[in-house]
Symmetry: D2
């Protein structure tokens, strides 16, 4: 997250509100905070955001015509190889938020998904980050040097 | 994790083994991979590592004389404000591993915990990363500019 | 689940299809199986169903005008005191299902939620069960002998 | 849990302490409550107990010489087909407890594991219940009418 130095964590928690720079290119996945997402502090436990980020990726791919379960059946996987997250302010039980994601960079091997989790209405930023995946050939257990064409074409649309 | 550029993810999955640079300063927390940690790919789901990293932090603090539940009862919390993880190779069901952690930098406000998850015996590296926390005054909901003395003194020992 | 003896587990997994007896009284909560819900066997890990059942309860209450986070803010909680589940067949990655729930019995103290998790279209039964809650006064840490009126009235509608 | 009618839930939460009837036959698996196990109420979220119960089963089998990952590699699985749990009192952050389990009944097809989660020292009962598994042939996707001999022999020892 070195590309967003303006968001210091202390500002994120104590200071003035940050606003997410949303363009029309983000895929938006709505979530609601339920009791099982929270911890003793009454806020979302920090690892839970990764479940929502995964759901947003899968649903984004689905909208592009890629069914992830079918991709796996075809012999591919997209494991996560890197996670970089910044927590700006916590979501609380009952909160509704949007998990916004887009494919920022796409080289032959890695797929970088950028994320902003914001308030439904006001674009207040809760979490920002990047999750990086690679394509794997399940049988060989190796990174594929070229993503399946159908996936490559779908991701380029993003 | 810009400080470990030598570990490219493709090497991590396909290439030769990486070995963790372990010093005697790491706190070691042993874990075993059980079915509920795995996903459809037969490996540990990427978010699960954050549960083990938290457990290692808490147990490391306990060894230093800090009971986290008591710290919370005293009015403090240590929320996570940043997570940076690299996944070098996956752990599988039945695997035993060590979650190694140490406090790398300690400024007045942030606590940086470095991590290496390695094989029990061979120091093969599975996951590396850093988790950054801040101290919070629960009542005021604000970052404390100075950690509780008992915590500050315990962390310095690390 | 003594009231459903006709559903033997071996039938549930090997035998002919079971069909859920759905009435118009069930509240239906749609879910999708994502990678983080699955385990090494490629199916939903058995504890995950409890997260969906909780979400269905909360959303059912919301539709009745009860915001659970507000109920907690008012000083009440509804902890689970009993869970009885039968797993008839497993959900797999990418599956879409309906979590159907209704309040079956409501005495002064306990709230019994019945559940059937079925296929979206065909009513094939995946999981059935019952989750029992009580109302708790958060401050006193005691079971309330009478649920808050607003909750009592809402539940009676079910 | 019809066999334990003496433990009414209201007693469990408000009333006098219940004590687990522990015999030397229970396998004991120690656990510690960490932040990620808790929810907004400061207690362990009700579904988390299933992760500990699974861990206790796997470690119990390991002590008997059965490596569950190897059993899966041999083509078998032991999915859960029924869960019946009663929550007598909640565990809180920092608590240490014992997950006690034993195979209560063993017919040709089903394996019934009984559970009591108690305090480390005083046998105060937090959760009791039963989890029922069947043996599955992974390739055929069918229940095995006879468990693998090595497993059958190991379970009889319990």
């Amino acid at each position: 997250m070195t590309e967003k130095p303006q968001l210091s964590p202390s500002q994120g928690i104590e200071g003035e509100k940050q606003y997410a720079e949303v363009t029309e290119k983000w895929f938006e996945y709505p979530i609601v905070v339920h009791p099982h997402h929270t911890d003793y502090a009454g806020v979302v436990w920090h690892g839970v955001y990764l479940t929502w980020m995964e759901e947003a990726r899968i649903e984004c791919l689905r909208q592009l015509g890629i069914d992830y379960a079918q991709l796996v059946a075809l012999g591919y996987e997209l494991p996560v190889i890197e996670v970089n997250l910044r927590y700006h302010r916590p979501l609380r039980m009952g909160d509704r938020a949007l998990v916004k994601t887009k494919v920022q960079d796409l080289d032959r091997v890695k797929i970088h998904w950028d994320y902003q989790i914001t308030d439904w209405e006001s674009n207040i930023l809760y979490v920002s980050g990047r999750v990086t995946l690679v394509g794997i050939d399940r049988e060989k257990g190796k990174i594929v040097r070229k993503l399946p064409t159908v996936l490559q074409e779908a991701l380029v649309k993003l």
